[in-house]
Symmetry: C2
Subunit: 351 residues, 2 copies
């Protein structure tokens, strides 16, 4: 998924005499820096930017190819850094993006969000025409060359709104990570899920089961009747009704930090495995289905592409370098390809 | 676009004591055959099936590779024939599909359609819970190997509803054809548009201007700010408020029949032209944008993929064999690639 930041309808910031949230945050950062005592907006921004550097470094080291780094600004406040590695030795394409967005929610968006977040406004009688909001997130996708090596996707994000008087309104975290192999190695699936389960269990014994199911339901190509991949975790709307803000931030941090030590060992096992032209072709057909999910079903991508002024190249960094479609292609019965499809049609419990 | 037949929400036919439209039409065909005196449903079905054979024959002859022919049935009545040529000598992929669908429109679809078609029901007071409908269409797409040769798309369709007493309700025709080159040859664009203008002019002097603009507006990748290709014509809802049914059927026939004599000469000029790896790569990037249009913006495809029980492989026969996405790829200034993009951003008048 695309970070939540693209999901918001951005309107020109309302001109106010008082400074905007973006202006106030800029000033705080400049004068005081960011510490553990800072506001969550600043801590999340700092954290995802640090993690972006970590992840980019790890993937560059694995691949031996540098990422292209593009910084971009939004005129309403905030901006982002999009890092893309293209046609590398190990990866056909990998993208790691951070976005930090300050904007204004129009009334229809407020009304919609209020269903899940009671704290958005003080009372039902006083729904304002607009609300300032903040969103920060990191989004990652990596498509390896070797068909034995799995595509991976990850996204962690924080969202909050300001009340009309400038104080904090609602806040929540969302995110998750999922793996999409072209060939199934149970060992990889188990390691990936085990790592996510450990992160979940350290924070709440119910998280893994709930977020694993959520992932299976979300990353589902319903026109094909199959999952996009072998799953992982997915969650949204983690707010004070679920858990304390510090606890949830700690969970998000652990989730994001677990990526490099989980994915790199999987890649080290797979990146140099021998493969045939037929196997490469199968990978390309699976990529086609990845594109179908992202363009047809993924809410963030669809919304982003329909949002005027969105940075299309950052949204579509998730596209594979190449993909393929063949009419009526079916894997041979009992083949490794058929085994993968069977698991995609009937998601498994891996741990 | 996918034929209109996929745009309808299909529900299980209501069980009636009287024969369904599908059953009655089957009986008529069996007992009386199809002549110029037959109902438009039968004439349109016969016409698109004949044309499918003609077009398949012409493309097979050009390519030297036979199409795969799949006939399929719908349990509610009707069915289709999907013909696909894959990995041929001239075409990476070409699909020619006919669908004939008998079904039932649920009330929400009736309410929506009534906006454009007053004849759907007799009076606003008596909107039934469901209406039988018929739809028949031919859909075609061809993606050549040679980057100098243009992708082409075409679709012609007929739709009608029955009134609750079994008599004909509303009817309309829709369709069009458009060309998507990776490299612009003005001569091809002019020939393609000239042929369509001649067909249009023979039936109504206003058609071409109107339908050319409609095509430019519909086949528009709005997130990219560029047209899918260099256009053609597109129209929908051609009913008795526009022109007599026979006149419109004659226009549809002329449009469909003009395809082979227009596209084959263009292909003969382009299919064996020399090209470089770079040019092939550019074609693949353009294919990526074709995929984006079809999966993100095309109403028929999106609706089809979200319709339970749709034949997904027939809908997605429009996908290219292969496509590619590169982050931030921009053609060099003043290159042939840049010249194409310029025309896609500013649609031209070709005749």
């Amino acid at each position: 998924t695309t970070p939540l930041v693209y999901k918001m309808v951005i309107e020109d910031a309302v001109k106010l005499d008082s400074p905007t949230l973006a202006e106030r945050d800029e000033q705080t950062k400049r004068e005081q820096g960011v510490t553990e005592a800072s506001h969550m907006r600043l801590r999340m921004e700092k954290f995802v930017k640090e993690q972006q550097k970590e992840i980019v470094r790890a993937l560059e080291q694995l691949d031996g190819t540098p990422f292209q780094v593009d910084e971009w600004q939004r005129k309403e406040g905030g901006g982002g850094v999009t890092c893309v590695l293209q046609e590398g030795k190990v990866f056909e394409k990998a993208g790691v993006g951070v976005s930090v967005v300050y904007g204004t929610l129009p009334k229809p968006a407020i009304l919609k969000m209020r269903a899940n977040h009671k704290n958005l406004v003080d009372s039902d009688d006083a729904i304002p025409d607009s609300l300032e909001f903040f969103a920060a997130g990191l989004s990652l996708i990596a498509h390896p060359r070797n068909p034995m090596a799995p595509t991976v996707h990850l996204n962690y994000r924080y969202f909050e709104t300001a009340k009309p008087d400038g104080s904090s309104g609602a806040w929540w975290f969302g995110g998750g990570s999922d793996l999409t192999p072209s060939y199934l190695f149970e060992e990889d699936a188990i390691q990936f899920h085990k790592s996510l389960k450990e992160v979940c269990d350290a924070h709440d014994k119910n998280y893994y089961t709930r977020f694993k199911r959520w992932c299976d339901e979300y990353f589902y190509n319903k026109h094909r009747g199959e999952s996009r991949g072998i799953g992982g975790i997915f969650f949204d709307d983690l707010d004070e009704t679920v858990k304390d803000k510090e606890d949830t931030f700690a969970f998000i941090q652990d989730g994001l930090k677990s990526f490099v030590p989980t994915y790199i060992p999987i890649m080290n096992r797979r990146k140099d495995m021998p493969f045939t032209d037929k196997e490469k072709e199968w990978q390309q057909l699976r990529r086609g289905k990845y594109v179908e999910f992202n363009l047809v079903h993924d809410r963030g991508t669809a919304f982003g592409l329909n949002t005027p002024g969105a940075r299309v190249e950052s949204i579509l960094m998730s596209m594979p370098l190449t993909a393929s479609w063949k009419y009526m292609h079916e894997p041979e019965p009992n083949s490794r390809e058929a085994r993968l499809v069977e698991v995609l049609k009937n998601p498994k419990e891996w741990v």
